[in-house]
Symmetry: C2
Subunit: 440 residues, 2 copies
């Protein structure tokens, strides 16, 4: 007998957990679609040359090969480790077939060969949105992404959260005005990015490693990271740094423009946070992170930003974009383990038609058929044991209504397993309309 085991880092849900995941995905999807984001899907694999296009190929990548590959000339393939590289390749490859601005969402598994640990998976879903334009992308798109993320966060059952944004342009301008350029500036951004992990002193140490950086510059950088305020306070707080630079003004203005275009209900919950840096090199403007107040160790739920050129490795066209990613599997892991979503329902069924006698099965099937035509997912019990056993099955699967059919009188009784009430019903249609609200 083959050994049945869990493969570490490759999670799988029980039906009730998968149903909960589908509800969460449905909620996020409806919000993204309401803004006109269209679905795309790319293969699980890309050429290794594509995956390595952003620089070194990391040991995180899983390589895919035929077990008994004969042809040595077969392409070298790897499983994608995020949805950004596939998006860049997709947009470059299909640019002539797409309409711009291209607004897409993508819900797919990605694979990373990291050492598995709590909350870290080797296979997990990401849920990404991006808006890609040709040549230039107005700030209205940054605002749209911020707004839609705000609506998603309001819809997720995660409790209070902190929604922080910043601008790489503003950070660069400030660090530039402090005399940091090129690689020194990039190193400073990477150091500040670690502030939540290693603290202010840790960042100070990292900054001190930058060649010819002065203690006063380090101080100024650390002071700037203390700016965590509302958008209305930002200009004043930045002015207090006493660094005059036209690019600093521009960075502040960009963030104001974005916040002005975000729905008021979302904008009021946003913190501008100059300690937010994001590690990846390719961001050039807005950066976004959302974290959960009740679960600080969880890290970010949503993260992303703007990049001036998504697909520069694959095409000469300039394709600026802005987008965010949700780590869906990690989020579901949290929602399920913290019981923030219900996992009561092991089945989409709302009703179970019991079968008292096998001869009644065709009648039971007919009643189930009528229920289904009224959009009530219905099962007919597969055998005809004692009714108690059939009711137990409904209880076990979280099916709320149990129907009892009298084959000779054609009388129908319904038991509501939530209220424990049992009633006789006159017609399926009238009963169905009476419960339809409870199904939503």
């Amino acid at each position: 007998m083959a050994k049945v085991g869990k493969i570490s880092g490759f999670p799988e849900w029980l039906p009730e957990q998968k149903i909960a995941e589908e509800m969460v995905v449905g909620t996020i999807k409806r919000i993204y679609e309401s803004y006109g984001f269209a679905p795309i899907e790319t293969p699980a694999v890309e050429l290794l040359t594509t995956l390595g296009s952003k620089g070194v190929i990391d040991k995180e990548i899983f390589v895919v090969q035929r077990l008994k590959a004969e042809e040595s000339d077969e392409a070298e393939l790897g499983l994608h480790f995020d949805l950004t590289v596939p998006l860049a390749r997709y947009v470059a490859q299909h640019a002539h077939e797409l309409s711009f601005p291209f607004k897409r969402y993508q819900i797919q598994k990605v694979w990373r060969g990291d050492r598995p640990q709590r909350g870290r998976f080797r296979e997990f879903y990401q849920f990404d949105i991006d808006i890609i334009a040709r040549n230039d992308l107005p700030l209205s798109c940054d605002a749209e992404v911020v707004g839609v993320v705000g609506l998603v966060m309001k819809a997720l059952p995660v409790g209070p959260y902190t929604f922080r944004i910043n601008s790489r342009k503003l950070l660069s301008a400030i660090y530039g005005a402090l005399g940091l350029e090129g690689e020194s500036r990039a190193a400073a951004i990477r150091a500040v990015d670690k502030i939540l992990k290693i603290g202010r002193d840790g960042v100070a140490k990292e900054l001190a490693r930058i060649p010819s950086i002065s203690p006063s510059t380090i101080d100024s950088i650390l002071t700037s990271t203390e700016i965590q305020c509302s958008i209305s306070e930002l200009a004043g707080r930045v002015a207090a740094l006493k660094l005059s630079d036209v690019l600093i003004e521009e960075g502040v203005k960009d963030l104001s423009t974005i916040c002005d275009l975000v729905p008021a209900e979302v904008a009021s919950g946003i913190t501008i946070d100059l300690s937010l840096a994001r590690g990846l090199d390719y961001y050039t403007g807005l950066i976004v992170e959302v974290s959960l107040d009740n679960y600080p160790e969880f890290g970010t739920v949503v993260a992303g930003g703007r990049y001036d050129n998504l697909a520069s490795e694959f095409t000469d066209q300039k394709l600026p974009g802005v987008g965010v990613s949700i780590g869906l599997t990690r989020l579901m892991d949290l929602l399920i383990s913290e019981r923030l979503v219900s996992t009561q329902r092991k089945s989409p069924s709302i009703a179970l038609v019991t079968v008292y006698d096998e001869n009644d099965r065709p009648l039971c099937n007919q009643i189930a058929h009528e229920l289904r035509s009224l959009e009530i997912c219905t099962e007919v019990y597969f055998k005809s044991p004692k009714l108690g056993k059939q009711i137990e099955y409904a209880e076990e699967k979280g099916i709320r209504y149990v129907l009892f059919i009298d084959g000779s009188s054609r009388q129908i009784r319904v038991k509501d397993l939530h209220t424990k009430e049992q009633i006789e019903i006159a017609s399926i249609a009238s009963w169905a309309s009476s419960i339809s609200k409870a199904l939503c």
Copy 2:
């Protein structure tokens, strides 16, 4: 610049094609869920020992390895090549956490290292349903699977189709009564399975290879394959074979019981076909295949059957099942290339709010917000060029309604790009309710 190329055998859709796929998946899913099938999902990978559990590991399998794996003791993993082996492993592993009968659907990609060719992919979606019971599975479950497949076929835009069923039990009993046992009988079933590909003469040649088979047995087998009839004719046609055997009677009776429990609208379209054999060894009762009359070269759209013991490689429990699989990617390839589904919509958006002047953007956003709250997916144009250019964008993306907002008078006009009519609307709510029917 990295080379951007299509990886042969790994298809990917444009947004308008993906939207069409989502509609088809939604249709099938709604039908399966209405019968209480619950979603599950398994990792893309399984242990190679699991994948090889049904016997030899085939060269079809793609192996997955970390690019720079250091630990030699890491588990050997491969991408799953179907959803049946993962289901068997899942049910065995989680048996204590599942409620039986376990009714699940599963929509996932599978990977096979076959040589790519038209209609054959290396990565493709399968859409499976199965009902798994403990110890014994009544024929009501076979009937449910047949019924639900019938409803799916009626809902798919594929034109006329042929829905054939047979019983492995009946075939075995007939071939047994003709004196074939064990491996000879299995070889006869595999030979008959090829009848559509190699014809009657080809099957005769294959049968002749079976050790000590007589010419009259070959004739009788070929005569039995001519039984292609309605369920009501079956008993008479089988009796005409003049093979008396209690197992033959049982096989005929099982098929009758199944057909009696299938909704009349589905049952009337079913052909009992004794030339239908299905190649796989594990079927033990009902077998099912649906093919498309207008696309004979396409092969089967839906195929499956009953197996007495799904998970025998992984557990001592007896877990009989019945289920079918839809080759979703192949089906979508057909629907798209034969234009059987619409691929007009490149976006979920129904409405585009144009922006005449950037100063009007907040007002435009507000109107879009109102539309979205009425479940009308809406985009606001991202810039404010000439209105003609904005209308062009809506046309390109297949967005039907274009709204024009007068920032000072707050007058709203709507152009319907299908009818070319333009009207002034009094309120968003009243207009939205007037179009809601057109959206379904």
